[in-house]
Amino acid sequence: MANRITLNMITQRSIEEGVAMEKGKTTPEYFEACSIIEMHDDDVKALGLVPNQLVRVTSECGSVIVKTVRGRQSLYPGLAFIPQGVWANQVVPPRTQATGEPQYSGFPVTVEPVNSERRKSALELVQGAVGMWRGDQ
Amino acid sequence: MKTVTLTLTNPSELLLEGQNITPDNFAGKKTAEIAALDVWEGKQKSPLGKYFTIAGDGGATAAETKIVLLGDCTRVKRIGQQMTAGEIVIEGNADMYIGGWMKGGKVHVKGNVDSFCGIGMEGGELIVDGKAGCHLGSSPRGEWRGMKGGLIRVAGSVGSDTATFINGGTIIIGGAADIHVSTHGEGGTVVIKGDAKGRVGGQMVKGDIYVYGTIENPLPGFKMVGEVEQEVDGEIALFAHHIGDLGERHPVSKGKTVYANLYTRL
């Protein structure tokens, strides 16, 4: 059992994300739809995880805490998926291969279980990143 | 040859667009006239002299004019764009489009450059001692008539999309190349002395590519046809010869189908 593994990360739309986004990005639905990661069972096992456990995902440009879930849409081993949105974008590299498009799909991340940390809300992540987070009101 | 020295003493806040910094534009001009040439910082048009301290006059013609840039030009774009003759030496880094659409003369960058350098090149020489970004010697967006001539030499590594739609000329890369080399190429030569990441020669019709290191992900559209000895950049070496991109159309000349050639060093 490894305490961290390296995976190839992709982020795309999910319908849950779509519905929740239209409801509002500060809603609990959006939080639950997007602050998650899907991996292949082999990789989940390699990390000694059970579903619903929190992990830290770290890329070349940042890290984020998300919850492992068992997705309906299966991946092959070595591939990981976070729905597009605020959490994914904490780790998506802004490099664009001179096309304008960030590296949303196909970038290396390390995934490791965490114990004492929590998932941050969308607002905390975004406002926090730009120094505007004033805590929950 | 007369030398004009530009020292970047008052750097811009945003990036500076210096398409007027060419021997063609400096030729026949006195220091003060050169200082009055336009440069752009976003929508703000200002005289060159606002940012640079300028010494020396231009030569009578572009060919007789040399420009030396001192100071940190990392955030200056388009130096040497569309130049036809003369010489530019950039003592450090420079930004995008250096030597873009060059027709003649020489640009020597002693540091690194960003993307789109040597884009649409037709002639002359672009020498970069450091690294280059993406789209080196590539064609401008949508233009199928890419690099037509000239020489680009980059000592370090380069980003993706080198030599897209290359039609002629030579690009020599000392280091590694990221994905996409000579995509849609219809001529010219690209030499990569380091490793290539992949997609080398994709959709390529004609032209030559040499890779000295390894290609991490070779394309299925290239097929090895033999071994050949060739002289490249002044040295003779043995190469595996592949033809491709077999998925692409290819012209027929004198009854024989003409393919693009990929040579990997043995």
Partner: protein, 458 residues
């Protein structure tokens, strides 16, 4: 009596379903029911009248809170930000009508701004590929009426375009496709076994980031060449089998999505898909289509192309000539390279959808959000200007993913006092003209243009 509004267009995705039936309450203020929409479209209509809406512009105060201000103050603030910046960036337009986009372009041209839309981080790669290789495409009704082979490549309509398969591709019975699903072969190519892949007759689990190699293999096979045993995780036999199906189709369409645009190679993945489509036309009829995301994200590409010749990433700072080069004039690159000094987020949420590093760079400068709703961008803005929701409260033309213009209707009035994007931008334009005139007056006669300028601004 509640009123039913029929033939309503859905302001969610590029499928642009225009068959929604929306029931509005007696007083015309509440949306009671939405028929025919998918889960996401449904949510948009219900959200419009379901909760609290922002009714006035909000300006950030020194203590970090927002204060309501009038539209007039907001217009003045926005115009001054644009006027004073050296290179402002106006970005978004995923949820705006074409009239709003045209008005925004007028503002950008006047202000000397960079004008970009969400394609920049979405199907911009498709534009780059279209620039290089063209776009052999068709309208969605052609696919519905003729297609017997459908390919979804790097696209997951089951999640991103929920009614795409039922309206246009897999299930509908068309003129020459009377048997619907039974008369069609469905091929799905994706690294994930998606919900869309569940619908497939053939599913190819391509190795992520290696689509280009797989396309190259298809092209080589179509031309009768040998390929290696395995390409991008797919066995040769399977590639050959699928290539035969493609060649023998009567009419085929390749629908592709972010799987091509967001991974290594970006535009080249689309470019080679276009090459494959060209090749296949030597055998039979094939078409290709980008699965454009938002309901009118095709719109700015259309409007700005007829206005300037470029669909996105327009650098208008030189006032008399537009320049476009994604990689340089694209929003995320401009942000990361610190090339811009003001940011307008219009009808989108750059706060949530840009990589966070790009958000940080942009936030160094004034940031204004124009959007009906609270989103991440609005919550880090200096100024948030609410506007009516297009397709719900504001009518207008939108362009479907196949570039077909659809005329959207208004279902209810916007909250009292809330204006449309178009009106907002017209007012900002007006204010910019005034600011310009004030400065010209200050500088005296020398700054006045020579001769009479056409269409001199009021």
């Amino acid at each position: 009596m509640p009123k039913k509004v029929e033939n309503v267009g859905c302001p969610y995705c590029g499928v642009c379903c225009d068959d929604l039936v929306v029931t509005v309450s007696d007083d015309g203020k509440k949306i009671l029911e939405v028929e025919n929409a998918c889960a996401i479209g449904n949510q948009i209509f219900h959200h419009a009248t379901g909760g609290e809406r922002i009714r006035l512009p909000r300006l950030r105060q020194p203590d970090g809170t927002y204060k309501d201000i009038s539209y007039e103050e907001a217009v003045d603030y926005a115009a001054k930000v644009l006027y004073n910046a050296k290179k402002p960036l106006i970005y978004g337009f995923g949820s705006t009508n074409c009239e709003g986009m045209a008005a925004a372009a007028k503002v950008a041209e006047k202000a000397g701004a960079v004008l970009d839309n969400c394609a920049s981080i979405c199907h911009g790669s498709s534009f780059l590929a279209i620039f290089d290789n063209g776009y052999p495409s068709c309208t969605l009704g052609e696919t519905k009426n003729r297609a017997d082979v459908i390919v979804y490549w790097g696209a997951n309509p089951a999640h991103a375009h929920p009614r795409h398969m039922s309206r246009y591709s897999i299930f509908p019975r068309g003129f020459f496709t009377g048997k619907g699903h039974k008369s069609r072969k469905i091929i799905v190519i994706d690294p994930r076994h998606t919900d869309t892949a569940q619908m497939a007759d053939i599913y190819l689990q391509v190795k992520q980031g290696h689509d280009y190699e797989l396309f190259d293999a298809f092209r080589a096979v179509v031309r009768g060449h040998e390929i290696p045993d395995q390409v991008a995780g797919i066995k040769r036999e399977q590639i050959v089998e699928v290539a035969e199906i493609l060649k023998k189709a009567r009419f085929g369409t390749i629908f592709y999505g972010m799987g091509l645009c967001h991974s290594d190679g970006r535009n080249h993945n689309v470019d080679i898909a276009i090459s494959l489509t060209r090749d296949l036309n030597d055998f039979t009829k094939w078409t290709i289509m980008a699965m454009r995301g938002h309901y009118n994200i095709t719109g700015p590409g259309a409007v700005w192309s007829w206005q300037y010749g470029y669909p996105y990433c327009l650098d208008l700072t030189k006032r008399d000539i537009a320049h476009m080069n994604p990689g340089e004039t694209s929003s995320v690159d401009l942000a990361m390279r610190d090339e811009v000094d003001a940011f307008f987020n219009v009808g989108t949420d750059a706060g949530a959808h840009f990589p966070i590093d790009a958000v940080k760079h942009l936030r160094k400068h004034p940031w204004i959000t124009v959007d009906p709703n609270i989103n991440m961008a609005s919550e880090i803005s200096d100024l948030h200007i609410p506007v009516g929701i297009v397709g719900v409260e504001v009518p207008g033309i939108v362009y479907r993913m196949d570039n077909v213009p659809i005329q959207y209707r208004k279902v209810i009035d916007p909250p009292e006092g809330v204006i449309s994007d178009e009106e907002l931008f017209e007012r900002i334009h007006q204010r910019l003209c005034e600011l310009e005139a004030e400065e010209t007056a200050k500088e005296g006669a020398k700054a006045a243009p020579e001769g009479v300028r056409a269409g001199s601004e009021p």
